[in-house]
Point group: C2
Chain length 269, copies 2
Amino acid sequence: MTAIQQRPIGVFDSGVGGLTVVRALMERLPNENIIYFGDTARVPYGVKSRHTIEVYTEQIVSFLLEHDVKALVVACNTIAAVARDKIRQLAGGMPVLDVIAAGAKAALETTRNNHIGVIATSTTVNSNAYARAIHKQNAQTRVFSQACPLLVPLVEEGWLDHEVTRLTAREYLKPILAEDVDTLVLGCTHYPLLKSLIRQEAPQLKLVDSAITTAEVTALALKQQQLVNPDHTGAQYRFYVSDIPLRFQTIGERFLGRSLEQLEMVSLG
Amino acid sequence: MTAIQQRPIGVFDSGVGGLTVVRALMERLPNENIIYFGDTARVPYGVKSRHTIEVYTEQIVSFLLEHDVKALVVACNTIAAVARDKIRQLAGGMPVLDVIAAGAKAALETTRNNHIGVIATSTTVNSNAYARAIHKQNAQTRVFSQACPLLVPLVEEGWLDHEVTRLTAREYLKPILAEDVDTLVLGCTHYPLLKSLIRQEAPQLKLVDSAITTAEVTALALKQQQLVNPDHTGAQYRFYVSDIPLRFQTIGERFLGRSLEQLEMVSLG
């Protein structure tokens, strides 16, 4: 029998974007085993209705619970925005960490003038989840959000340092910059790949990378709940996806920052 | 009992793009009843594997056959590229028309120098379906294809006449223009909305709009098989989708060119 500490962390996303969170977890918690699920057959969630997202999320969480995870990391802003309560309910007492709570916390620790900008998908922005998470901790903070539906396809096309991406980012950032924000939350797991381009477009902003901040809160939660894996024998990683489309390996490795092994396709629902 | 001629035409797509084909059918065949299915919960298909696309297509065709359609119109290039044989098999002897066969035919009728360009999603381009359809009729024709994964999100963002879209189109068209093509197939049902921008970027090209050409071949097939609806009492239109996301109504009406009524959500699979 496996001690609970040796069980894997379950990380999930609507597609490949959550691999940026896995990458941050691997760096921050090198002894932890990780199981990843990416719903690549049904990606993107950012344009789907709340009901559909909840149904899909329930299927993913069941899959991970069957694999005996000790904690759940919601590595998808859209899922965290829409289905966080549902996930906590399904997870029982197990720690549930998510990119929105982690990003909101880090943004509040970063801002000096209490003007925070958030860029994300349309569904995340319309859910108002970042503003709610921030206001729960500090009602005086002003939050300015901007939906950026083109940034995900631009990242997946690999145009990370391209004139088109630069113009698109400039257009999306304009209304946020007009509000004198000093901190910008990258509210989608694809956006960390655009960090250097966004830095060039808005050098005055401090960027909150929610992959890194999520790894931080996960480390803290495991420690507090005595779930840290004591083994130093080399962590195991397994990656499950609902579809393996063309170029998946290439795109996945761009997000993960290393080669993508132990990859398996499974059908849900 | 409804005479077979009075039954609807079943039109389907992975999402809203097929509404450009419905629009062309409404104009070309104003007496025909139409049932549309758009798989908006699982869009886009252009990045999914062949197997997944076949499974989803089978579910859609079964749904339309249960609704007693007299003909099937595949208003999605990706589905036509990947699953046409499967659809014909499921449809029995009923006419099956599709955007690729129609676009290939029109391109061959249009070109003077036998150099044809095709722009489409990655899956359509990688399937090589346009080149095969064109070469079956004329093996001497040269076909140059270019995957344009960013054009769909740009259309859905509504940036139909935007500098970013112009630069993106220019970049995608460059390799095709270098091959001295005289005819360009818009091999994705979203692209007709970019017709005027593409015309400005490449005024020397004749554009093949596969929505219009698909309506033409459908009209011909109904006539040949004596399936034309004799009623002039006003056609009925019904629209089914697997999800009704944010802004769906707005985007749908942009494609259909009129208000979107009789819209219903259904779950498949």
